[in-house]
């Protein structure tokens, strides 16, 4: 492929492409966390779930040759992690944040343990759709090569936004998340609802992990996640627990994450490591800018242990 020099235009284009590529795991993890937190519980263990999902997806894809089976395996593994978290948290006096941190370390550790033999072999990738085929410019083609999971994630965000208002399940999750007493008065068992919500949240995080190992970066290494699962949790708060907000925030984070590589690709050689830190700096700035000492967060589910 011959390279066409498009100069500094390469930076926003690479950021757009990067936003689409990098944001997908953020989308899935944050949507999963949004479901869990709307039910009144926080699962900080999604970082571990993400890494374990990445490992299991890669391993299954290597062994079976099918990336879709890998994806399924990652979702199942995530479901198990989520259900485990939800099950432990139903016991009285258990703190969901502490359990989340424990599960985060457990998930990454377990993934490293089982993942050792899969660092070398290569697995088939998840398919992407070349929306940029109309263009002759390779950078445009690269930027608009969109993975199907991104599209599924976008559709899922819209669906969840709709479902929180218009379905029985959506309303039940919101009731449980906002007032456990009201839920009990309706004959709902908050623990069961939260167990399932955490399970679904875990499965989505697992899918996010599968994207990491099966598409971008597209291989299994121990440094595959670098804290994306944790940032996705922060992103849910920034997005005010709104699925559409989660999607937009994930794009923003993805774009920020693509800033470093984009600058490097146009020949900036000094200080681009600083730009690699952009998502983390963005997280800090957002957290500071959206918090206030004198009022509680608007839209926060009333049962969350951090807002109570």
């Amino acid at each position: 492929m011959e390279t066409t020099d498009i100069g500094l235009w390469g930076v926003p284009l690479a950021m757009l492409g990067g936003a689409i590529r990098v944001s997908t795991p953020f989308i899935f993890v944050s949507l999963g966390e949004a479901i869990t937190e709307r039910s009144g519980r926080i699962n900080l263990g999604l970082e571990g779930t993400l890494v374990f999902g990445a490992m299991s997806a890669y391993a299954v894809a290597v062994m079976t040759g099918s990336p879709w089976l890998g994806l399924l395996a990652a979702a199942l593994a995530g479901l198990c992690f989520g259900l485990f978290h939800g099950w432990i948290c139903k016991f009285p006096k258990v703190n969901d944040i502490a359990i989340g941190i424990a599960l985060m370390l457990f998930g990454t550790g377990l993934a490293f343990f089982f993942g050792k033999p899969f660092i070398q072999p290569s697995a088939p990738d998840l398919p992407a759709i070349p929306f940029g085929a109309w263009s002759d410019i390779p950078q445009v083609q690269a930027a608009l090569n969109v993975n199907v999971l991104f599209l599924i994630g976008a559709a899922l965000a819209v669906f969840l936004w709709w479902a929180f208002r218009n379905t029985r399940v959506g309303l039940i999750v919101r009731v449980v998340g906002d007032s456990a007493d009201a839920a009990r008065a309706m004959g709902l068992n908050p623990n069961t609802v939260r167990l399932l919500a955490t399970g679904v949240g875990g499965a989505l995080a697992g899918i996010g992990g599968a994207y990491l190992s099966l598409y971008y970066p597209g291989s299994w290494t121990e440094r595959i996640s670098s804290g994306q699962g944790l940032m996705a949790v922060a992103l849910v708060i920034f997005a005010r627990w709104n699925p559409l907000g989660c999607f937009a925030a994930a794009l923003l984070f993805g774009g920020a994450g693509a800033l470093g590589p984009a600058l490097q690709s146009v020949g900036v050689t000094q200080g681009y490591y600083l730009f690699y830190a952009a998502p983390y700096i963005l997280t800090l700035i957002i957290m500071i800018a959206t918090s206030s000492p004198s009022r509680t967060l608007a839209g926060a589910p009333g049962e969350l242990s951090i807002t109570k």
């Binding site: 029985r168 309303l171 919101r174 007032s179 007493d181 008065a185 309706m186 009333g302």
Partner: protein, 509 residues
């Protein structure tokens, strides 16, 4: 749901007894609430009222006794059974989900909710249902944004929407203005008269019982101590049934106010953000003189809580000044000590105590770090704390198992007595009080009010914020009304009218 004609049902209990271990909460109580009647259930805290209604609602399983619905014996094993029979309860604390709209709350509380909710159809049905209701409440607004009176109406609407036509109302007006209370109870009364509804109301307020109820039943210590038609009973007779022969603290007679007494507390042009951060409270000018009680009335959520928090140092102010005896006051410990400012906030266990620390430690919070002459000490004496607290516990009749019990283990009345003991000991020049008697029983209320009056007569300036208008009318020398974050009306007690105050509380002026 809207088209069906509702029909009130009658409920009767026979020989209800409920024991928790060795403790008998309810002892052979039989009450009869005929269809279409408005029945009031009276009693002190712990008299067994809520145990009785929880047995009727299926939350508790009585040790013995029967329940009849429309004359037929029924088994109520769970709240679901009660609901199926048409029995519903409106709790003292709202059970609506704050972040959902009224319509969402109604639909999701239904027994059968479709998987996908067709809002167009549901809205139509709700509109038809609401058109047959005397209550008007906006259903498209988040419940958190409704006023207390609207929430209470929505709670009642929810029960009716769910097809329940025997309602237990647990102190339904405790968070409402007099106007709202009149309106809600009047509408409920209308529905019982029309034969659409039967009501059993738990209440403390005699004037409401007299105005709206047909019959009363009184419980004391788990036993039925009286019953009868409201028209045959005086308030005095009802009170006697409720409290028996225990002595009630009498209010000191009010010492004559001195119009030229020193202004102890001055608040000028005070601005502070409210709880949501969207609005602010704005107190233009307020003065409280030595030897008077200034009452601040208002519906909860109109900024009284924030105002108290500013005075207590719990909330930062944007601008304005608070002056106590000529000195700027920012509610630091040193200032409060130097100027003799004392504070009795609402929900004392939460706002004035460290719940897990002992009674003795809590009582000594103001004094533990100074010696007899007010000089700071570097070594705290546990013995001094104990003996100081023992004296106060004795003097203020705090009932506690021991001085070293955690204060959270005390009953509400005794927590408040302990806080009073701490705050009213020593010299008091300014006393700031908020809802001191909320949720307390008769004798505790009388005693606490008597103590506040005594403090006033001793020359303290008292600022009293209360949601209970009766309390304000009983204690205050002047009443101010707070609405939407500002003081909107002032009246001396001699000219105070409940009607006018209520209108200002509701913001109708």
């Amino acid at each position: 749901m809207s088209g069906t004609h509702r029909k009130a049902i009658g409920v009767e209990t026979i020989g209800m007894t409920m024991r928790f271990g060795a403790f008998t909460a309810l002892d052979d109580v039989s009450i009869k609430v005929p269809a279409g009647s408005f029945h009031a259930l009276l009693g002190e805290n712990g008299a067994g009222k809520s145990t009785l209604v929880k047995c009727m609602m299926g939350f508790y399983h009585p040790t013995s006794g029967d329940i009849l619905v429309d004359g037929r014996q029924v088994a109520i094993a769970s709240p679901r059974d009660a609901s199926a029979l048409g029995l519903g309860m409106v709790y003292q604390h709202f059970t609506l989900v704050p972040s959902l709209t009224g319509a969402e709350n109604l639909v999701i509380s239904r027994e059968k909710v479709p998987g996908v909710i067709d809002w167009r159809k549901e809205r139509g049905e709700l509109a038809a249902f609401m058109s047959g209701m005397p209550f008007k409440v906006p259903l498209d607004v988040k419940v958190a944004e409704l006023a207390a009176g609207e929430k209470q109406k929505l709670e009642i609407i929810k029960q009716l929407y769910l097809g329940r036509n025997f309602l237990v109302l647990d102190e339904p007006t405790s968070v409402l203005t007099p106007g709202e209370a009149q309106e809600v109870l009047g509408l409920v009364r209308g529905m019982t008269k029309a034969g659409d509804l039967t009501v059993l109301m738990i209440s403390h307020k005699f004037h409401e019982v007299t105005a709206f109820a047909d019959d009363i039943t009184v419980l004391r210590k788990g036993r039925l101590t009286g019953t009868g038609k409201v028209s045959d009973l005086t308030h005095k007779a009802m009170a006697a049934m409720m409290i028996g022969d225990q002595p009630i603290a009498a209010l000191d007679s009010r010492a004559a106010p001195k119009p030229d007494a020193e202004i102890v507390l001055k608040v000028k042009a005070l601005k502070a953000p409210d709880r949501t951060g969207l609005k602010s409270i704005d107190i233009a000018d307020l003065g409280v003189r030595s030897g008077e009680i200034v009452g601040i009335a208002g519906i909860s959520g109109n900024g009284q809580k924030e105002f108290l928090e500013v005075l207590a140092g719990q909330r930062a102010r944007d601008q304005g000044e608070v002056v106590v005896r000529g000195a700027a006051y920012a509610a630091t410990r040193a200032e409060a000590r130097a100027l003799n400012v004392r504070l009795i906030p609402e929900e004392p266990l939460k706002n004035a105590c460290a719940p897990k620390m002992t009674v003795a430690e809590n009582i000594a919070f103001r004094t533990f770090d100074v010696d007899g002459n007010g000089k700071p000490v570097s070594w705290i004496s546990a013995g001094a704390i104990k003996s100081f607290s023992a004296r106060l516990v004795e003097q203020f009749k705090v009932k506690t198992a021991s001085l070293s019990s955690p204060i959270a283990s005390l009953s509400g009345g005794n927590v408040q007595r302990a806080v009073l003991a701490r705050e009213l000991t020593g010299e008091v020049d300014l006393l700031i009080v908020s809802n001191p008697c909320f949720g307390l029983d008769f004798s505790a209320v009388a005693e606490i009010r008597a103590r506040i009056m005594k403090t006033r007569n001793a020359g303290a300036a008292v600022l009293l914020m209360s949601e209970d208008l009766d309390e304000l009318l009983e204690l205050s020398d002047r009443i101010l009304v707070m609405s939407d974050g500002a003081l909107v009306y002032e009246t001396p007690i001699a000219q105070a009218s409940v009607q006018t105050i209520g209108e200002h509380m509701a913001g109708h002026h």
